[in-house]
Symmetry: C2
Subunit: 134 residues, 2 copies
DNA sequence: GTAAATGCAAATTGTTTGCTTACTG
DNA sequence: CAGTAAGCAAACAATTTGCATTTAC
């Protein structure tokens, strides 16, 4: 039941990955972030990017977005917010929404027997660009 | 702008895939459904299952659940409802919830410029079983 | 008869892992 | 210096695709 204590090190790679993810407003895939990080550390490896994204999300520093179908995306902003995803170009944008969803937790726990600890809400549609070219 | 008209055929495979998916209350992955369908059509191929699930979801007969991270799941029930997913065993259950989310569509369209056509809401946590063995 | 759909296998894509070397604390 | 993390490449897993054959209409 005890939390595993892990001695972690602050490597240049880890720092830059976190930094760069925080900078971008988009929600990059591992490969996209890899390209960004490569500009600072040319010989960084994709594996390192994956490993650090996993590490950082476990640690709660970033968010792993398992919502979009094809590829996983990552979000440097960890406060509660929701997403809109374009079905055509797959881009993801943030939205804030003061909804009553939080208060439904208890209701759902009672109904389902689950211990609820989070939720994701995703709207889908076509973004400004894609709805024109459609 | 015209809808592409597609001549489709009612193959035994397609029928059974649709039927069996409608029967199960779970939200099977392609591989799981493949095993189920194999009981009726022993030499069906996994590729056919994938192709038909794609076809049927494009046609609106079933739902493709792109919500869970690891593997895609499919849902035979297409009326609006939401999901709870266990983070440990990855099982997905339905919940009904009369929420105000629908009414937020317009608001989001205005704010984001997206043309919204759907949404998914997923709660995550531990199911009855997993929360004990944890 | 024709073209849509199947079965099979190979190809792709995204992600993880094993292992040796490098570097943080 | 101890052991975490990097780099690289190979392995894996899920899904897609190419092609010859079958089958629905």
């Amino acid at each position: 039941m005890e939390t595993k204590i892990r001695k972690s090190r602050n490597t240049r790679q880890r720092q830059i990955i976190l930094e760069e993810l925080a900078k971008v407003k988009t929600h990059p895939t591992a490969a996209e972030l890899y390209e960004i990080v490569r500009k600072k550390i040319p010989n960084v490896s994709l594996g390192t990017v994956y490993r650090n994204l996993e590490f950082l999300s476990e640690r709660g520093n970033i968010l792993k977005l398992d919502i979009a179908g094809k590829q996983r995306r990552y979000d440097g902003c960890i406060s509660t917010h929701y997403h809109v995803r374009c079905k055509k170009c797959d881009k993801v944008a943030d939205i804030s929404l003061d909804s009553e969803i939080q208060s439904d937790f208890k209701k759902i726990e009672d109904k389902t027997g689950f211990k609820i600890d989070g939720h994701t809400l995703e709207f889908t549609g076509l973004c400004r660009n894609c709805k024109q070219n459609k």
